[in-house]
Amino acid sequence: MAVAAPAPVGSRGKKTKEWKSPDEGQGRLAAIMLSPTFLVLILVIGLPILLGIRQSFYTTGGLDAQGFAIEGDQFNGLKNYTAIFHGATADRFWNAFYVTTLFTVVCVVIETVIGTAMALIMNRAFKGRSLIRASILIPWAIPTVVSAVLWKWIFNANGVANDVLGNQILWSTDGIQAQMAVIIADTWKTAPFIGLLVLAGLQVIPEEVYEAAKIDGSSTWNSFLHITLPLVKPALLVAVLFRMLQTLAMFDLPYVLVGKGKPSVETLSILAQQESVNTRYGPAAAYAVLLFLYLVLLAYAFIKLLGADVIGDAAPKRAKVKGQKRSKVGRSVAKGDMP
């Protein structure tokens, strides 16, 4: 069973001998070139999402009135959703919702601050730049699962963390310390990445701007506040948005570092995954849909409130900042952390 979608073949791009209006020819060529990508995206994303939404209104299995097992799916209306909000599972859902939100807010804030600080330091440092770059990329390249295992060892009851702190904290059991462990590990892995993106934004700020500010008697802090931040804002916003979306869907780090079935680190992703592995597809799909809606809502609010320009220079709607190209985040890597 071949996996690859049919790639367009050269001969399909009609080689017209006479000169057509460029727009028409370009439009056709664009359609041909884009079709395989959209075909794959529809197949692996569009279709599953629709099926998932459909699934969330159905239930699988159960018994009918005569006590026979039911084959196939039953239409269940909104029961999967109402069951989430009322009933035995409500606590579990609200807990997962709270954990997901907590991780997102705390991690993203800490990572942004540390990442920006890193970028500022790197921007100053001209010596050992490649060394710094390497040290930033290594956490990014280490698989999340491996870093989770590594931190698990550090946070072990007899591990390094307790050794350094000189007390006995049971990090990976449950409760607040497990949450802290996840937050620390996540920060270690992705703060450098934010730093990298912010650094890219910093490097386009011309030195003269700072000199002018200095002559006008601006303090370093003032310069940072009124020059650096506004100019770096586009790059920073995009980085924060992507990180936010990834943290909301966080799965592998808590799953491996602390384990499943631990309420204090059960994110919505873990909850949905556990439900679907137990073949309760209906509720699982409902959880996933809720998470998805939550994500869309937050992303939309974020873009609207802060005006994050995600599309970059493809959307020439707003004035460019000093003619610089807006930072287009090549869809961040940390998707590996999924992502």
């Binding site: 996996v3 050269g10 999402i49 990329l137 280490i142 698989p143 999340t144 993106l197 890219a200 930072s327």
Partner: protein
């Protein structure tokens, strides 16, 4: 991590900076048949490799169209691709698990590769678009003056020059696919089809309650070293890929 992987299993919580004597017991333990780790490594290479190649072949065309051609709905296409890259993995995993269960795809390679494309493709198209945008427009114009069609200009002039960009994108996509966990975990339940990251999280100790920290570390080292070498060798490229378009 490397240090720990060289300790004897009994000494994993020793604090000395250098293990004495260094022992490769953990490494031999990793390849113990119980863990099936060699097979998992192979699986990872197959899945990440096929995903990367497939995604690049498809993505290169889309990226070129987005970077160079003028057509209606271009912004819509760009937005759609970005939007897909923001989808949480779990929203795909739940329905896909059911579909794959129904058509008997659990524990198959295609069940791992297809979903992996869902995040590797937007990522690659995005990166490649940035690379193509940085190329001087004059290249194609010259080719077209010499009588090439737009398509020929793309194939004969642009693609060969874009090789470094394509290569960088390949690395980024490969790393992303290599590190993927949730799909690989959910779509497999036989150790013959575990990818390496799943295998690590599932390592069995010799006794029930024993967590084999040492061999997990060793496996982690084995899994990470190739990535680190790759990243260090091409770090400058990767950084410019990750921050594509930010620095002009």
């Amino acid at each position: 991590m490397i240090v720990t992987s060289l300790r004897k299993p009994a000494e994993v919580f020793e604090k000395a900076a250098v293990p004495s004597p260094p022992s490769f017991q953990n490494y031999t333990a990793v390849f113990d048949p119980v863990n099936n780790f060699a097979r998992a490594l192979l699986n990872s290479i197959i899945v990440a490799g096929v995903t990367t190649v497939a995604v690049l072949i498809i993505g290169v065309f889309a990226a070129y169209a987005l970077a160079r051609l003028d057509f209606r709905g271009k912004n819509l296409a760009l937005s759609a691709i970005i939007a897909t890259s923001m989808f949480p993995g779990i929203a795909l995993v739940v329905p896909l698990l059911k579909i794959f269960t129904d058509i008997g795809w659990i524990n198959t390679y295609q069940a791992l590769i297809l979903p992996s494309m869902s995040f590797a493709l937007p990522l690659s198209v995005w990166n490649l678009t940035a690379f193509f945008r940085q190329m001087p427009q004059e290249l194609e114009q010259a080719a077209m003056v010499d009588g090439c069609t737009q398509w020929q200009a793309f194939r004969k002039v642009i693609l060969p020059i874009a090789a470094p960009g394509v290569f960088t994108t390949a690395i980024i996509a490969f790393v992303a696919a290599w590190n993927e966990f949730i799909i690989a975990l959910t779509m497999t339940n036989k150790s013959d089809f575990f990818t390496a990251v799943v295998a690590i999280s599932q390592f069995q100790g010799k006794t029930g309650r024993d967590i084999p920290v040492g061999s997990q570390m060793a496996a982690g080292v084995i899994l990470t070293i190739p990535l680190i070498i790759m990243v260090l060798a091409f770090q400058r490229r990767i950084v410019s890929g990750l921050t594509a378009g930010g620095v002009k």
